[in-house]
Chain length 313, copies 3
């Protein structure tokens, strides 16, 4: 029901209020705009643009991995809305590389092998852990393990990444923070690492065995972005009993806020009349280049306006 | 006196500070800009534009009705300044129809017959109340009663409207909230309903027997309006003794804030690239259409910049 | 070190991180932008524009006076950042005249002779005090005294001004608020008045014997300026023991905030569509006219982008 004049709509957006006599047009002409809606293993995506991309491969590939995480049976434990004084593309570029992680994210790198992969000293250990994790993931029916991954499709990817040995989830010390979700819950089994999903241009998610953290961006103006971060747990989990927000949230709250800070500093520098773009690393910023190339292609080709609207609880 | 350089002006705006020797121009050239000023039964209106409309009929017609309300002997009990994130025209359109009242204003519709008039079930009772009120108003020398009214002039109207049977004033329960004002005070007589005055493009007022509430809008930018709401009582009334702001204010504070909320939602919807205008009701939004027609006419013809500046206390 | 990707630079801005293999360009091509830097008796100024003015005379003339104030051995006691809703030029014009001081700054005029100089009644006393101060300043090796002064160069000036008889520093009652600084400290001698330095377009300073207050403006947009006010004391002074912020700050905090208030009112008036510029006083606003002339000249000639960045501690 519209809170202004109380016009009432069906769940499919058709107007139920009779309008022809008093307003002229018949009610069948006054329904809500339809938008395409896709469900990826419990996450709902809508397309708001006119030129739709074919979203089927993204749905299939991301959904195939994400189906283990149990988002169909999740509830929102908490969300935080940030206003970040940076263009949305700077925030997405920041998300597309972990070159900055050693400097900016001490908590994040304590639990993941992302940055270790680029050092000749630590690479053998990373490869050993990838092998161990691959065996475990295969046994669990989860597919490959990779310490970090390139984008697999034009604008999406889903990759399962091992956590540091001994870590069960993305919490500050690797200890569980909520009851197991999805197929892990069914088997009472830990350590599927973190499933990372990324869908251009405004969504990413890290799903652990016991919770998932999704991030959605909305551009506000050329130098302002709204960023919503959502923490999901199993729908039956009870706050205070089964999970504690003070243990559930810090890992990604901390890492997210560290990112907003350097993105805002980056934006301030770019606004300087003396700013000149620097080069990207051809090793550690390949995914940034992929994003830039995709964006430039999207600008010149048909538009791809897919936006996530949150998880079904 | 100017707080910057202490130049001092007469009450009519003439500069009293001598300037010729030190500044060049004679002080007679440096007075304040004159603006036309009209007094409508105690409310002062100024015109800030260059192309003046003839305001005489508005002064006469609105003044004739308003003279009973005693604003010449009123004082400001309280004002509240709102910043509403909506174009001023959306707020004025909202004011020009009560189609939204049943949904948005439970407190308002409890005291007035506006919306009841459009239902075949309640119309007979409304007409009966209008007859009763018309007789009472005639006996009091106040003119007609109408449950709600169309604009009577090009850009103004004043209409006396009965309140629900048993209501003495526009308070949450209809009980008096301040000493009687104007001619009612002289005769100790209640129930002249509410005198509604509207002057395009930025003023409206509801005056009860014991208080009056005036609203003035100032456009800030395309999607922001400043709205000032003023509560007036008799100048001799003493706060805490003769009136209590907690009883005086809620009826219109509540109703106003309900309007700002739906106007802001309306503005947000209009800003969507998918927005398409809908039709107006040819029954319940006639006054909205009148406002739109007036505005389009004013845009193409001479401008009409009348602004109220508050009541004389 | 850059907090984003940990690139590390020498103190002279040369990049120390090797980049050629991973990024393409050699690190020698990726250093920080060089900017000219000048030290005026402890205050560091950088030029951010492309068309540099010759800053040598400003450095020499302002430095010659300022060298007594001991800013090379100062520390920042406190800074306050203001966001003023006024164009930066209005704030600078405000700084360039004391015509408004009698009205706006009761605390300021209690300690200085600025405004007294323009009254035929008080001028003899001002001239007597200038003579007394000139003798004292000459004995101290400090140059001339002047109750207030015109700009001496194209865009800079430094002038030593006597304080009211009996006042030792710019505090609310003229009593000392911190240990002596600079050459006064060495000689344990008071009453060098206040050394006023002004450098267009965004810097001014009042230095007393025991502290200095510098103001720096940064335009944000056409009607918003960031204004930073810095209070300096001797680097060995200990807060709570040698100085108390509640005594050090009020004189200039109060005077500054009075200025922001009238500048904001001025800006609001200028934004009115009815605004017409008024004339300047040919006696008391000569320095305003000088600023306006300089600015118009700078717009048409080479740019002069000198900005102060604070004092060396």
């Amino acid at each position: 029901m519209c809170p202004y004049h109380a016009w009432t709509y069906d769940i499919d957006g058709r107007l139920k209020t009779a309008t022809e006599r008093e307003f002229g047009p018949h009610q069948s002409e006054l329904g809500l705009h339809p938008v395409p809606l896709k469900n990826i293993a419990g996450l709902l995506f809508v397309a708001l643009g006119d030129d739709l991309v074919n979203f089927d491969r993204a749905v299939a590939e991301v959904g195939e991995k994400m189906k283990h995480q149990g988002l169909e049976h999740a509830k929102l434990a908490k969300s935080v809305r940030y206003t970040v004084k940076a263009n949305w593309k700077l925030i997405f570029e920041n998300n597309r590389e972990c070159y900055h992680c050693n400097t900016a994210h001490p908590q994040y790198v304590a639990g993941t092998y992302d940055t270790a992969r680029f050092s000749p000293h630590t690479l053998p250990e990373v490869e050993r852990q990838e092998r161990i994790a691959s065996e475990r993931f295969a046994r669990m029916g989860l597919g490959d393990a990779m310490a970090s991954s390139e984008m697999t499709g034009a604008y999406w990817r889903a990759a399962r990444t091992p956590l540091m040995e001994g870590w069960k989830t993305q919490s500050l010390n690797g200890n569980p923070v909520a009851p197991l979700m999805g197929t892990f819950r069914a088997r009472d089994e830990w350590s599927a690492g973190t499933l990372r999903s990324t869908i251009f241009p405004n969504f990413w998610q890290h799903a652990s065995d016991d919770h998932a953290v999704a991030t959605r961006m909305t551009p506000i103006d050329a130098t302002t972005s709204q960023v919503d971060v959502y923490w999901f747990v199993h729908k039956d989990a009870v706050e205070g009993k089964d999970y504690d927000l003070r243990k559930l949230m810090p890992f990604w709250q901390c890492t997210s806020e560290q990112d907003w800070e350097i993105c805002e500093a980056n934006q301030a520098g770019i606004l300087s009349p003396r700013y000149e773009p620097g080069p990207y690393s051809n090793v550690r910023e390949i995914n940034v280049q992929h994003f830039v190339d995709w964006y430039l292609g999207a600008l010149s080709g048909p538009r791809t306006h897919w936006k996530s609207v949150g998880a079904r609880a």
